[in-house]
Amino acid sequence: MMFPLWFLELIVVGGLILCGLGAAALIVFWILDFKEKRIW
């Protein structure tokens, strides 16, 4: 029994999107924290 193609596509593409969104989210959080003066 093997992992189907759709599962491989799901985790690879999903992982890629999550990594990209993650980097973007960190930058957005930083901007929001910076505006509110609550970075530190």
Binding site: A23, F29, R38
Partner: protein, 530 residues
């Protein structure tokens, strides 16, 4: 995340984190030195810049206890992405298939599980500094002595293995001699941690986490642009069907072991507790949840680089450099430089955290109690700050001395920590949430879990060590808690760390009659163990 390297031991009979032979280089030595100097100076400069905020010991040790969501999330991601995550995940996938990458990603579950704990820790101990301090105040000496031994063993073996990995990786990637690479990485981390404390560590973690995530995305997109996921699947199905097998026993065992090791590592280590203390109230749970979510895909995306190598026609003479080889083949010098920087960030973000968190243990749980016993005087803010500097330099020197000879078997010592940290899971959860959790239950659980877990490690194998350690610890903890219940007052935890002792020294009735406010090694109340 470290435990995954245990798999290599089973596969090859001995552990070599990364081969240091010259083949497989993706960069020239000159380019490697250039990147080391450039980013080394950048981290030190940023450390000095952020370190200007660290005017008090609270600032130096826990970044003023007011870290926001952006930096809190980033530091959780960056610290948990070690060089093993970015370099070993492709090798894992290449050798254990899809389950290998998925097994590695289960280490993120530890971050998810620590999210609610971090909020509770912050509420119970608003003035706390270390995990050992919690165990001491919750369980007294009976719990804190075995816990301190486990914490220091784990921290030092992780630190030494990271320094060794740094030397070996930089050598494998660019031919920089092991001794030079290891020394430079360690010196850079010691310097910026020394200048900026937790401010520098968390600040650089933010930059490092973004570099790691973007670097991975760029390389993975380059792979998908060259070869379709369907082609990778087809190639694996034809040539290496085992890598796509759903029933791959070795990989399935790795999955559960990694998960439990991850829980034990995060629940007990001061690396994670110090961040819980550093984050503003209410931020910790969100930051750890988001951190786990952002970390989860990293081993999967990195693992895909390994799976794609055969379909890309990249010959893999050294499995441990398959990730960088894929990047360098597809993206040329730019890709090689990017991978070098990602690896440097992965190393620095873990080493700096260990230096800062372990120096907190040395100052608050070893130096301060000893000084207090000898002089009966409370350590001042400035004194603790000075001790921190000595502790960071001392830890750096000890690590350098241990890593310099490049003894391969030294890296395997980290695997012994599996059952040790696994045995801490239940005493920590019980101590945080249940009044009945007693000192004798915590001590018995840690000692029994560690002992039988180590027996299982040698008698059966690494893949059951954490499982046995955690299971035995859980059963012993539950039985001892029923037989010897406690009735702990959680309000005792919320006082400032030195309050109970300060009150006693002024001749006022102690607010801590069980002696749990005392330090490790304190002999109080006629030498009783609590």
């Amino acid at each position: 995340m470290n435990m995954a390297i245990g798999l290599e031991e089973q596969l090859f009979g001995g552990v070599v984190l990364v081969s240091s032979v010259d083949t497989g280089r993706i960069l020239s030595q000159e380019a490697g030195y250039g990147m080391l100097v450039l980013f080394g100076l950048a981290w030190i400069g940023l450390g000095i810049w952020w370190g200007r905020r660290a005017t008090t010991y609270d600032g130096f040790a826990v970044a003023g206890r007011n870290v926001g969501l952006a930096l809190g999330t980033a530091t959780a991601v960056a610290t948990w992405v070690t060089s093993n995550t970015t370099m070993l995940a492709p090798q894992f996938a290449l050798q254990l298939g899809l389950w290998g990458a998925l097994a590695y990603s289960t280490a993120s579950f530890g971050l998810f599980a620590f999210a609610p704990l971090s909020g509770r820790i912050r509420r119970l101990m608003p003035h706390g500094y270390t995990a050992v301090e919690f165990v001491r105040r919750r369980y007294g000496r009976l719990g804190s002595i075995p816990f301190l031994i486990i914490s220091l063993f784990y921290a030092m073996t992780w630190l030494i293995s990271m320094a060794m990995a740094g030397g070996k990786l930089l050598n494998a990637l660019s031919g920089i001699p092991y001794e030079v690479g290891m020394t430079v990485v360690l010196v850079v981390c010691v310097l910026y941690t020394l200048f900026g404390g937790m401010y520098a560590v968390i600040g650089t973690d933010f930059v490092q986490s973004i570099i790691i995530l973007i670097g991975l995305v760029v390389v993975a997109i380059a792979v998908i642009a060259h070869v379709d996921v369907a082609d990778v699947h087809q190639q694996l199905q034809a040539d290496r069907p085992m890598l796509l097998s759903i029933l791959f026993p070795a990989a399935l065992m790795a999955l559960f072991n990694n998960m439990l090791f991850g829980f034990g590592e995060i629940f007990h280590s001061n690396v994670w507790w110090s961040r819980a203390f550093a984050m503003r109230e209410g931020v910790g749970p969100k930051a750890y949840l988001l951190g786990g979510l952002l970390w989860l895909p990293v081993p999967i995306v990195a693992g895909f680089l390994g799976l794609a190598a055969p379909a890309l026609g990249i010959g893999v003479s050294q499995p441990d450099t398959v990730g960088p080889m894929v990047a360098a083949t597809l993206l040329g010098t730019g890709g090689a430089l990017l991978v070098f920087v990602v690896v440097f960030c992965s190393l620095a973000s873990s080493i700096d955290s260990l230096l800062a968190a372990t120096s907190d243990l040395v100052v608050n749980d070893i130096a301060e109690p000893i000084a207090e016993q000898m002089t009966s005087v409370q350590a001042t803010d400035a004194t603790k700050r000075r001790w921190s500097l000595f502790a960071i330099i001392g830890l750096g020197v000890i690590t350098w001395c241990a890593a310099y000879p490049n003894i391969g078997t030294l890296a395997t010592v980290l695997f012994f920590a599996g059952p040790m940290v696994g045995s801490c899971i239940w005493p920590i959860i019980g101590g945080l949430y249940f009044r009945r959790s007693s000192p004798i239950a915590a001590c018995a659980a840690m000692v029994a879990g560690t002992s039988l877990g180590l027996v299982a490690y040698f008698a059966i194998g690494w893949f059951v060590a954490s499982l046995v350690g955690a299971a035995v610890s859980g059963v012993v903890f539950l039985i001892a808690m029923v037989l010897y219940p406690d009735d702990f007052d959680f309000n005792l935890l919320s006082d400032s760390p030195d309050a109970p002792i300060a009150v006693q020294s002024e001749g006022v009735a102690p607010i801590d009659p069980d002696g749990r406010g005392g330090m490790v090694g304190d002999i109080r109340g006629g030498g009783e163990t609590r």
